[in-house]
Amino acid sequence: METPLTHNISPGKEPPDLAQYEKAGGYAALRKALSMSPAEVQAAVKESNLRGRGGAGFPTAQKWSFVPMGDDAPRPKYLVCNADEMEPGTFKDRMLLEGDPHQLIEGIIVSAYAIQADVAYVFLRWAYKLAARRMEESIAEAYRHGYLGKNILGSAYSLGMHLHVSAGRYMCGEETALLNALEGKRANPRTKPPYPQVSGLWGKPTIVNNVETLCNIPHIVKRGAEWFKSLSRSDDGGTKLYGVSGRVKNPGLWELPMGTSMREILEEHAGGMCDGYQFRGLLPGGASTDFVTAEHLDLAMDFDSMKKADSRLGTGTMIVLDDKTCPVGMLLNLEHFFAQESCGWCTPCWSGLSWIEQILQDMEEGRGRASDLEVLESHTRLLGPGHTFCALAPGAAEPLQSGLKYFRDDFERHIHEKRCPWSPT
């Protein structure tokens, strides 16, 4: 089984420096890309069926295709790497950033070349201090060796790259809010359309791609679309970084073929539930995806299959709920996070989420009312996609709506018993 993304990564050790990265075949993809036309690079990515790894799964090449190309395209154009990984339970990009920074840098340069971007930014979560240091050093190294700057490797192509360490908000993971933050504005999302490809950073054509997405690019260019598709067990090409957290024997992160089943990830790689704990459900792709239960575990973890469980692949890093954890408490924890991270722009989000949090808090503290369930349920509808300005609140509604569906008894017990059944007193 090939693991191109994590091939160079040895957890706990320093990442490969530029010489080691080159020795392992690094920057060959860039040399190859520079011998191709930007359109050819885009075509190769299109053929690979690479879908964005940030959570939404939008086809990467299709995203790129909206960027104006040619001599009369507005300049400068930008490529922004979204490294603001803040989805609860998700730490896949961190591994790539810390473990093999040059792989990401090469991915950014090749992608930037494909859209003929002039400047690239890495928008990094503030808490990733180690990643910040390693990225900074690696970018400087790449500049020194002619992989960045004017006339890269003697070609006509030039690219500047900057590391921006963010101030730390979940909202910045939304690509337009990220762009606002990068411009020094409040991290509020922007209206779409216009899409960033047309009016992005500083009003110029911009592509925002996730770390994992970009890390796939050099491998696709180097080894071809057919090879990339062959890595996958599903229609979506490539491998995927899957993670598991919760009361499992071996929590962690693994690079596996795209479309590996949840059961395989949970039982073979994470070692199954800890002794004395029963599985109740899991959030498959971070906090903003719907719960799945035992009956769904044989589904493949890919973008399309997860829809069958009314859920989403998301970031592919699951959070497991066990029988000794209060589901209402878990949801309170999550909704507290979402309410706190609401940017305060649109009413349903800033007001609705804090109301949800308030109700869950009341339930946990024995003040729940029968009518609260109706309020919660109505919110899962009212915070739906299109009702709010961006996807934050609809994401926050996903675990809540499935939680109400699968764990309704637990909610009702909170209300009837006027206490949290899991609390020690």
Binding site: R169, M171, R186, R190, T191, P193, P194, V198, S199, W202, G203, A339, Q340, E341, S342, C343, G344, W345, C346, T347, P348, W350, S351, G352, L353, S354, W355, Q358, D362, R369, S371, V375, S378, L382, G386, H387, T388, F389
Partner: protein, 938 residues
């Protein structure tokens, strides 16, 4: 136009416009918060949710925000769809989660958009049981009150304040349900349009602090359409009165003039009407060693009758702050040849020059709305942010015209506000500002130029020459100025709608002429150029059109033959001209009759003072800088006064100035019954002065009726009419009659929409806030239904070629030991009436003299030191006094002033700045600036 389907019925709509605007224009009651017709759409509040369907077969549809969806041909939407209705009700519910239950004691109550929308949404039952969030409220200064707990986070305040008005010290802070709209710390809001927050805020976060100090329920206010008297732009206002005092000013939308916004001087200057310096009773003294004593109206008039009998020689001095009718009545009383305008010779010549330029053509003057459409602007000599603030706000919009093309090219509709701003970034269209000192709109300028008037004029003339070689060439121009002139000429030439702004603010005729040359040069090249001259007062242009001599010529006339009676209309002459000149003018009259609403230096020297009605107590016509005649209407009948108490049951002695003139004519000449109502005066004026004939159409006459009824000044909810004076008398006072207008001092009358010039308040069923205005426009955001009020008096002939002014001033040469004193205007302080409002007074600058630090250090002075100023002989200054009068010169030179020094680095070496028109400057108030003076360390 295109067809859209709303709830399965076809309606016409404007292609590409946002659906919220279209639905509102079609008359639908679709609730909204964050959208504003002048600010566009941002999609934040989610209140205007509707259903959109793919086609006729689609029964499911999806929820979209009307404000963020473009009207396209055949689009199918539903407002009544239950899911959309349910969602909209939920938005109201979410907003009410944290909104306090303080409506009964909230200043916004009764005209709160949030109240209206909550009712419209049908949200009635509270399901939230938690605690409400609370905030710290800030002291934002004397004008705007802050109560953050009421906030619904619609972002309108910061969008207006920062993005529309260019303010920097109010921002959205924090996030989630804790977004805080305020300053980084307590303090006066810096932006001069802060008062608009009161109307922009859909609820009671920002309210009128001056109203709070004398609060009354909004529906208990008596209101009438009015016009601002605090500068020459003529913004339309709605003053509100209760119990004989003016309580507040609100914006009265006029699509051609002020649109949705007023400046803070215009909004908050009104309190001069309630000032302790009001004249409320006739005052008389029979000899000048006595003090003025109150007398009855009858006694005053009788005395005047005696003075007038036997063919007394009467001289009249009018005023640019009094209405056309008041000035015309005085002119009629004294006769055309004995009527003077009450301004200095210098100002008269400047204004005459402007009037001549405006009439001559070929360029025309744009309305304020049209200023916003200009795509390249040159400001020559005028500090518009201080002399005509609303014009400065218009320029903040005009610099968007060229960059908007970037958004258009990307296919972004202009209503999609944040997307447009993102596409435009910091791009500004060409705006060149050449002024005496830095201005508050320099931040949006392409280039700025600083210098004394002669240098500004030379720059202007050089631009004109660069555009058209036939225009006179400026000799000895520096290379930098030459290059700048060339660059400005290029931008103006390339524009689709170039505009030149100037005025009399820097007191220099050459500047006024240079601005005309630039505009004409563009016209001669076939460019559709326009110019806009700022005039200082609310009726400067109207008074000029009436005609009359200056104070200097009045003095000459009185030197030739002394006046028995000098009648002065609404004018403090000591603000107009040199104190010595005014002293001599007043000394040359046997009896001085002052008709004014406030006491001042001139009225203190009068033998008789008659209480005139202030703007809110009178009707009349004003002509703004555009040449637009606008009618203002009486808001309330001023009541009598006994020892400081407003006497509610009897009308007082205050009456319109024109009525005083009429009364004087009756007692003095016995010409009974000449004028019985304002219409008579207006008609007489229009008949005598043909250029003023359109003032007849500025508003419907007093005979006008809707369905046989008058238009009520009081809302149908007006309370307490029968008992509001019961503390004085239990008998209900008779309602005052209004013979002058089609408005009634009553809550009874026509309840529908009156003609645009007669709208006393904006209200519609379900719409109690100012946003009821939507119902008074055919197209929301467009002109008032029936046309924006006002009649343009000056329309020059287009296509005509104008002859250039040939006078080229010499370049500025600094003098040894002398400084050229330049007038620096201040929005708060430079205007005579608004400074009597406590809020404005609190924000006013204090007297100072400004120098650049280098000149100051040469004098051994530093910031804050006291400096001694001795004015150079008046005749030697740039003022061109016709009468060679040495007494004048000596008197001025003798006076020495002491002022604190203030650094102003942009002032050129050899020049100094003085605040213009500031009270507390003693006799400096009347000195025509620029003038030369000697400076010395104290």
């Amino acid at each position: 136009m295109t067809t859209i389907h709303i709830d399965n019925r076809p309606y016409p709509a404007k292609d590409g416009e946002n659906l919220l605007q279209e639905c509102l224009s079609l008359g639908f009651n679709l609730p909204y918060f964050c959208w504003h017709p002048a600010l566009g759409s941002v999609g934040a509040c989610r209140q205007c949710a509707i259903k959109q369907f793919k086609n006729e077969e689609d029964k499911h549809g999806k929820i979209v925000m009307a404000c963020m969806t473009a009207a396209k041909d055949g689009i199918r939407i539903s407002i009544d769809d239950p899911e959309a209705q349910d969602f909209r009700a939920s938005v109201a519910e979410w907003l009410m989660v944290n909104h306090p239950h303080d409506c009964p004691v909230c200043d916004e109550g009764g005209e709160c958009h949030l109240q209206d929308m909550t009712v419209m949404n049908g949200h009635v039952y509270r399901r939230y049981h938690g605690r409400k969030r609370t905030f710290h409220n800030q002291d934002l200064g004397p004008l705007v009150n802050h109560e953050m707990n009421r906030c619904i986070q619609c972002y309108r305040c910061t969008r207006f304040y920062r993005e529309y008005a260019g303010g920097r010290d109010l921002d959205a802070l924090v996030l989630r349900n804790q977004v805080y709209f305020g300053r980084h710390q307590d303090g006066v809001l810096e932006n001069e349009f802060s008062g608009n927050l009161v109307e922009v805020c859909p609820t009671g976060v920002f309210t009128d602090k001056t109203l709070k100090r004398h609060y009354t329920r909004k529906w208990d206010l008596q209101t009438a359409p009015s016009v601002c008297v605090h500068c020459g732009l003529g913004c339309n206002t709605i003053p509100g009165e209760r119990y004989g005092t003016l309580r507040r000013i609100r914006n009265r939308f006029n699509g051609a003039v002020n649109g949705y916004f007023l400046c803070d001087r215009g909004r908050y200057g009104y309190e001069f009407v309630n000032s302790g310096r009001r004249v409320r009773q006739p005052l008389l003294r029979k000899n000048r060693t006595q003090l003025l004593q109150p007398v009855s109206k009858r006694a005053a008039l009788q005395h005047l009758g005696e003075l007038l009998s036997g063919g007394a020689r009467v001289i009249g001095i009018g005023s640019p702050r009094a209405s056309i009718e008041a000035n015309f009545a005085l002119r009629t009383l004294v006769g055309r040849d004995q009527f003077y305008l009450g301004i200095s010779e210098r100002d008269l010549r400047l204004l005459a020059s402007i009037l001549d330029i405006l009439r001559k053509g070929p360029a025309r003057t744009p309305s304020l709305h049209e200023v916003e459409l200009a795509d390249a602007v040159l400001v020559l000599g005028e500090d518009v942010a201080n002399t005509a603030p609303r014009l400065g706000l218009a320029l903040r919009q005009s610099v968007r015209r060229q960059p908007e093309k970037i958004a258009k090219k990307m296919g972004i509709p202009l209503w999609n506000d944040h997307a447009v701003r993102e596409a435009m970034q910091e791009e500004h269209g060409p705006l060149f500002i050449a002024t005496l000192a830095n201005t508050r709109i320099d931040d949006i300028a392409t280039r700025t130029f600083r210098g004394p008037p002669a240098e500004l004029a030379r720059l202007g003339l050089a631009i004109a020459h660069a555009l058209d070689p036939i225009a006179p060439q400026v000799p000895g121009l520096s290379d930098t100025a030459q290059a700048l002139a060339g660059a400005i000429a290029e931008k103006l030439k390339a524009a689709e709608r170039p505009l030149v702004i100037s005025g009399i603010g820097c007191g220099d005729k050459a500047v006024v002429e240079a601005a005309a040359n630039v505009t004409w040069a563009l016209c001669n090249m076939g460019r559709p150029a326009e110019f806009c001259y700022v005039v200082p007062e609310c009726n400067s242009l109207g008074a000029m059109m009436l005609g009359g001599g200056s104070l200097e010529t009045a003095l000459e006339a009185m030197n030739d033959a002394a006046a028995d009676i000098l009648v002065i209309l609404e004018n403090d002459l000591y603000r107009r001209a040199d104190a010595a000149l005014v002293d001599r003018l007043l000394a040359a009259a046997r009896h001085i009759v002052m008709i004014d609403h406030i006491e001042h230096t001139t009225s203190a020297k009068a033998d008789m003072v008659l209480p005139a009605a202030a703007f809110a107590e009178a009707d009349g016509t004003l002509v703004n800088n555009e040449g637009r005649a606008q009618r203002f209407f009486q808001v309330f009948v001023p009541r009598g006064e006994i020892e400081g108490d407003i006497r509610g049951d009897t009308p007082g002695d205050i009456q319109e100035s024109w009525r005083w003139m009429r009364d004087i004519m009756v007692v003095g000449r016995g010409d009974e019954g000449q004028w019985s109502s304002l219409d008579d005066v207006t008609a007489a004026c229009a008949a005598v002065i043909p250029s003023l004939e359109p003032i007849l159409r500025a508003a419907p006459s007093a005979a006008f009726r809707m369905d046989g009824q008058k238009i009520p000044r009081e809302s149908h909810r007006y309370s307490g009419r029968t008992v509001m004076h019961a503390n004085v008398s239990i008998h209900e006072p008779e309602q005052p009659q209004d013979p002058d207008t089609a408005l009634a001092f009553s809550m009874e009358g026509y309840s529908g929409h009156p003609p645009p010039s007669l709208i006393p308040r904006f209200w519609a069923p379900g719409w109690n806030s100012i946003q009821a205005l939507n119902k008074f426009q055919d197209e929301v955001g467009g002109p008032l239904s029936g046309g924006d009020p006002g009649e343009r008096l000056i329309e020059p002939t287009p296509g005509k070629k104008a002859a250039y002014f040939e006078n080229i001033p010499a370049g500025f040469e600094p003098r040894v030991g002398e400084w050229l004193l330049l007038p620096l205007h201040h929005i708060f302080g430079s205007e005579e009436l608004s400074i009597l409002a406590p809020g404005v007074a609190e924000l006013s600058v204090q007297p100072y003299l400004a120098l650049n630090p280098e000149d100051a250090s040469n004098l051994g002075l530093t910031d804050g030191d006291e400096v001694q100023l001795r004015l150079r002989a008046q005749a030697d200054a740039q003022v061109d006094v016709k009468a060679d009068d040495s007494a004048n010169t000596t008197a001025t030179t003798a006076e020495v002033f002491r002022l604190p020094l203030r650094f102003k680095p942009e002032l050129l070496h050899g020049t100094a700045g003085l605040p213009a028109g500031l009270t507390g400057m003693g006799n400096l108030a009347g000195v025509a600036l620029p003038a030369w003076g000697e400076l010395k360390k104290v």
